[in-house]
Amino acid sequence: MGVEGIGASVVRKEDRRFITGKGRYVDDIKLQGMTHAHFVRSPHAHAKVKGIDSSAAMKMPGVVGVLIGQQIVDDKVGNLICGWAISSKDGSPMKMGAWPAMAPETVRFVGQAVAVVIAETKNQAKDAAEAVVVDYEELQAVPDIRAAIKPGAPQLHPEAPGNVVYDWHIGDEAAVKGAFSKAANVVTLELTNNRLVPNAMEPRAAIAEYNEAEEHYTLYTTSQNPHVARLVLSAFYNIAPEHKLRVIAPDVGGGFGSKIYIYPEEMVALWASKKVRRPVKWTGDRTEAFLTDHHGRDHISKAEMAFDKDNRILGLRVKTHANFGAYMSLFSSAVPTYLYATLLSGQYVIPAIYAEVMGVYTNTTPVDAYRGAGRPEASYLVERMMETAARQLKVDPAELRRKNFVTQFPYQTPVIMAYDIGDFGASLDAAMKAIDYAGFAARKAKAKSEGKLRGLGFSCYIEACGIAPSKAVGSLGAGVGLWESAEVRVNPVGTIEILTGSHSHGQGHETTFAQLISERLGVPISQVQIIHGDTDKVQFGMGTYGSRSLAVGGTAIIKAMEKVEAKAKKIAAHALEASENDIVIENGEFKVTGTDKSIALPMVALAAYTAHNLPDGMEPGLKETAFYDPTNFTFPAGAYICELEVDPGTGKTSFVNFVAADDFGRLINPMIVEGQVHGGLAQGIGQALLEAAVYDSNGQPVTASFMDYAMPRADDLPSFKLSHTTTLCPGNPLGVKGCGEAGAIGASAAVINAITDAIGNNKLEMPATPNRVWHAIHG
């Protein structure tokens, strides 16, 4: 490895602009003649819109226009789509309720937009929005999954009788029945996976500009995947053909899934910019983020696991109800199905699995992928089940896991996934050593003597990243391919530009991707520029989510690099009058092996562009493109152990130690990888102890600000002890797996397992607030 190549913890290239206040986020951008939008949003969870009177608002100072839902329908802007078709057990397609960008007739969650005010300033738009009079006829709302599927419940969509989106299943029901009939022991568990609000620190924002002469739109937006945004805005929402729409996602302040989707505000800003013939800017505030950023999780599940007399798992049966909120968001349908139920085998050999998932509409904000997306829900269920089973079977939780680990690879689970490689025992060993498992009993006894309840909880997670291949996901209902593209441009002076379809919004691509080039060509990373987030610059890409950027996007860069190298070697061989097969690349030099003859990369690049002396028939230039479609998912896995103390007098939990041993395959920049794990752990711990999106029985959100929704703060969290074990992913040339979501997937079960161990009572739901823990202890 070079000093800046693979495996080097180099500091990030992008940091200088962020630490000096020179980042450029959407809200930092001002365009000439720009107007400001403010949305009029429903205060009701379910209501008919009987009429909208905007006459007073139109007379307010600075108002440029007031636009309402019926106008966007009349202009044939398409309804919002869900891009993954899932069918029910009976073969019927999922039931899609119509979702216009602003509601013309019916609102189905608090915060749904019914109108927008465009004004010269943000304050003028806000003031005028107050003056828009909307006549609502309130309808009975149903925010809760259980209530929504009861007979006689209020109905959200005529298209979805009983509020059911789909009733889906996976696995072999008969095989599971057989497994349970042979069981020596059956362990059952009911649990709730609490609804979370992603809360990227940068609120969503959009600026739309329409160029009348060119009939061309530009959209600046807080997106994780600007090309997908352009595709959807063009093909489904009829905003403009793709060549007449440029989407730019500049610096984006965190995403965690919530900025994958194309939201009504972006559609309205584009549509309105043509209507008012001025650029339109919308920047959400935090309350709008709570009301309208798509939420995560929100499952209730019942699970049963069958064991033989030797404590080997025979089968797993799961029934899950997933809350989708009021409408089906872009990838929502896939989350509790192909991203959840396919991971229910965990790290274990489970011969038979059967899972049923019912998706349900409720009068709440739509729910979609949030960091981990289905995999945290699966991991939480499996890992709480393993801990519960160990206690019921009276065996050591580590040993029960070890006995049932998958140890032979590749391993085909009964629920689609084929694990390519892993060493689950190695991660568990590393974590147990890091936490000093052997000394735990003594520490627990000492804590008891001091009046504290000490507990230890395991979580051995597995996840699937870099969702692929396109053909397979297409056969399962996906509306898009899940490959990635890259272009490697070597400039005539030897500097390098990488154009990637991945998008960085905190992940550090500008550094990690540059390290890939540094490794191959021996150039310093300062000579490499990563270009992303602009559909006019990068030809196409699928964006960043599902921990895919390095495994899929990075591999596309390597593939393009290989083409560049092959051509550069030909040029170098020609210049050095040597055989192409004798050229090796070392430290930025193309050398003839076994001789002292060499030519530096800039001279090769210059030769490619001057084209004065190229091999016969060779095209000038040094620039190559690759599209890479993986052959399989990647499977990061690891073991997390949490040790904590509970104060029985207050129910308060205090961390003693939190260790994580992850296997992400090869690490390109260990410093960045560890940062990703820290952040994921914080979100997993936040879910376990603090966070929950709460609605009252009328569908009013109770937690719509940072005053009410408990975000993890610095003093809520411990410092983390991380370690890595390594099995190289065989599916890509880098051997990488993905690290962005692991912490959020594995952490919550470790925390709850530790608390339930401490208090000796398994009846505890997330978030385990002091109040809940106290009641679990004292009844």
Partner: protein, 156 residues
């Protein structure tokens, strides 16, 4: 008022918040807005040397004060030790909370000097929310910078 040492005098609507004045009138967009309830700390600036959430006061209330934003703490190309510590310890990811974090952290170090420990840093950062880092490397950065700032003060 002065902002980063430059005198500034503007007519603004009375309701203009200091953060709006800084971002929209002075175009210093390094100071961010992450919430509307003075919880997140993305908007922290220094007023007469003390960390203040610039969304909690009106621009008019800052008249006559000396305001320093994230853009005003480095000396030319030389980063403030806190900025350098955040970079060297990977104390940032998406960068959105970072300016407020750095401004709060400088104030913490000024108030505690060399007596900072991890628990104090975590407690003092309660008013700054980060969703990316899990705070682990932010805490490391602040402790590292505390040492660097002592050294740079000694050098001056």
């Amino acid at each position: 008022m002065t902002v980063n040492g430059q005198p500034q005098s503007h007519d603004v609507e009375p309701r203009t918040l200091l953060v709006q004045f800084i971002r929209e009138h002075l175009l210093l967009t390094g100071t961010h807005v992450g919430c509307d309830t003075s919880q997140c700390g993305a908007c922290v600036v220094h007023i007469d040397g003390r960390a203040v959430k610039s969304c909690t006061m009106l621009a008019g209330q800052a008249a006559g004060s000396s305001v320093t934003t994230i853009e005003g703490i480095s000396k030319g190309d030389e980063l403030h030790p806190m900025q350098a510590a955040f970079r060297d310890n990977h104390g940032l990811q998406c960068g959105y909370c970072t300016p407020g974090m750095i401004m709060s952290a400088i104030d913490i170090v000024h108030r505690y000097g060399g007596k900072l420990d991890e628990a104090t840093v975590r407690h003092e950062l309660e008013g700054n929310i980060c969703r990316c880092t899990g705070y682990h490397n932010i805490v490391k950065s602040v402790l590292d910078a505390a040492g660097r700032m002592k050294v740079s003060q000694a050098a001056e």
